[in-house]
């Protein structure tokens, strides 16, 4: 039987809504700024990372991904506009060019993305005859290599080998015989290659002697000896060798000194130039002087 009286729950007792302890704590937690930020940003990031990680952990997905990336990359790099067709090498002599060409890629055409221009340049510059080089991909698919060769200024005799030395003292090549480069002055001795500039100065100062000069020898790694033909030597001092040489030249012009029987002109001591004669000349001189003394005694 249904009750005739309508009773509602709300009449029985006033409703007192109250949050549960858990709900209350949850709300307070969510109102904490740090926690809220962590939930708002941290949880989505974590989810994304987890999903991406689980997808990436399967090898077929990884292969798929790399194929998807590689294909358009390949397609782009193989476009004809980006292919290298020719390779003009400029500057430098024939030998250098041959050497450089051996370092460069040979099969044309290839994509300019496959080139490591820095490495090519470093390889080229590591060659002896090349001072510096510029490598760039220029117009119309050309790999332009511009060489700046080393200019040898002297020959350096090191034992049996003859090296070509440029102004910085760096070797730019070797030759087999002195006759190949008669235009270059010859130097020798330990540490000679470090004082090329000084050596060249001395050679410039040689003036009239230049036809007689064989070369310069670095002595004791501090001073130069100028070697002339007929086994003559000019011993130059460590400092101001050029002025010493000038004095020798002046003496030579005045007295025709070097055409006489002199073995060594010793200019090491500036205040006291010394001559050493050959043995025969010395004997002859000694003989002549005794004769004169004897004659004088007779008189």
């Amino acid at each position: 039987m249904r009750s005739l009286i309508r009773r509602t729950a709300s009449d029985a007792a006033p409703r007192d809504p109250a949050p549960s302890r858990l709900g209350y704590r949850y709300q307070r937690l969510m109102l904490t700024p740090g926690f809220r930020g962590a939930v708002r940003i941290g949880v989505p990031i974590l989810l994304i990372v987890a999903i991406a990680g689980s997808w990436y952990s399967k090898p077929e997905n990884r292969a798929n991904l790399s194929a998807t990336i590689a294909e358009p990359k390949q397609g782009f790099q193989q476009r004809p506009q980006l292919m290298v067709q020719t390779m003009p090498v400029t500057g430098g002599d024939l030998d250098a060019m041959t050497e450089v060409t051996a370092l460069l890629p040979t099969e044309f055409p290839f994509s300019s993305f496959d080139l490591d221009l820095e490495k090519i340049r470093a390889d080229i510059e590591a060659l002896d005859p090349i001072k510096s080089a510029s490598v760039r991909v220029g117009q119309a698919g050309a790999l332009e290599v511009r060489l700046n060769p080393r200019v040898p200024v002297a020959l350096w005799r090191d034992g049996a080998t003859l090296r070509l030395i440029d102004a910085e003292g760096i070797q730019s090549g070797q030759i087999l015989a002195r006759a190949e480069r008669l235009d270059l002055p010859l130097i020798a001795g330990d540490g000679a290659e470090e004082h090329i500039a000084e050596a060249l100065e001395i050679f410039d100062a040689a003036g009239p002697l230049i036809t007689r000069v064989r070369g310069l020898v670095r002595m004791g790694e501090r001073r130069w000896d100028m070697v002339l033909d007929r086994d003559q030597r000019i011993l130059l001092p460590g400092d101001r060798p050029v002025s010493a040489l000038d004095r020798v030249i002046a003496l030579n012009q005045a007295q025709d000194m070097l055409n006489r029987d002199v073995a060594v002109v010793d200019m090491r001591n500036e205040a006291r130039p010394t001559l050493r004669m050959n043995e025969e000349a010395a004997d002859a001189l000694r003989r002549v002087s005794t004769t004169i003394i004897d004659d004088g005694a007779d008189n």
């Binding site: 009449d11 006033p14 007192d16 109250a18 949050p19 709900g23 209350y24 709300q27 307070r28 109102l31």
Partner: protein
Amino acid sequence: MGDLYDSQRAMRQMRKAAMQRGVVAILDIGTSKIACLVLRFDGPEQFRSSDGVGSLAGQSQFRVIGAATTRSRGVRFGEIEAMQETERAIRTAVQAAQKMANVRVDHVIACLSGARPRSYGLDGTLNVAGGMVTEQDISQVMASCDVPDYGVDREVLHAQPVNFALDHRSGLADPRGQIGNELKTDMHMLTVDATAIQNIFYCIKRCDLELAGIASSAYVSGMSSLVEDEQELGAACIDLGGGSTGISVFMKKHMIFADSVRMGGDHVTSDISMGLQIPTATAERIKTFYGGVMATGMDDREMIEIGGDTGDWEHDRRTVSRAELIGIMRPRVEEILEEVRERLDAAGFEHLPGQQIVLTGGGSQIPGLDGLASKILGQQVRLGRPLRVQGLPQAAIGPAFSSAVGLTLFAANPQDEWWDFEIPAENYPARSLKRAVKWFKDNW
């Protein structure tokens, strides 16, 4: 007296911490409702409007950003009776206020209306021997007050220095730096039942909150509903609450007396409920809609349906005239007001220069109450509404919220209490450095 104030000092520290964090909650635990306000402190004059008028009494430094009320459960006579129920009610209010503020609050300043407050006037004397009054002297003169034996089960809720006197000059607010011989102080101390405070502590702790201050609701509603000159000249604030009626007497901007009558609006409701044989909820509704205390001829003709759902037509269609309702309400209201009168007389209210009486609290909304109160309490009666504070919602500006609003003022700029002053050097631990410094100062 030392360790008694430790908890108060701890609360004051916590209040400072809460102000630093910028957010503090106000919790008015009343008998009929629990109100929670969330305050945000942003430093002074943050919300100052562009018209250039500075706002009142430094209240511009905070703003109410969340407010919620809920029906109170488990509270009787302003004291917590059923902890679990009250805890749920507090949770409801705090959660709603937090939701509105969209910020988490950790610190709560609460007030309680019941707990049998008892006022004591203390005085202390200290001989400063012609020297300058220092802060140490002030704490010493306060320590020299002889404290009455107020009982072991009671706690000091407020202890405020009301007046300082130096030799023959009385009424000093701040005697520091002045020179005289004898420093005297008058102090007002308010004690309440310790169990009531412990219950509040416990309830708030159960809600994961920390109590950053506690105040008597009579005191804070006086702070919010008395205007400045009333506080200065002497006035009484009658906070007609649900389960208890708080009385606080102010003079020179200090509370000098507080008491509470253990009767309030709920008793009026239960009288109606018993007199008309209707449920309490209906009685409460009838009281708020049709209630009054001054009957007129018109009220005889105004019939009120009081209803019922027994199924008996005669019973369910009962009506009473408004005059009958007033006839039930008036004796109880008179009883409350007479009790208040008695308390005020006992406190010597008639000797104050100002005799203003301000009625506030939810019960003060009964129409005609000011007329009735002026017959019982004297001519200078007015109805008081709480001060306006920034951001308070429209629903919370009525007189029922005067103690909640007062608590916001209490939180923003509290008056100095005993425990805010320096600890007197004698009470420091024996090897304290301060004590050594004090000895040197005294002897060199």
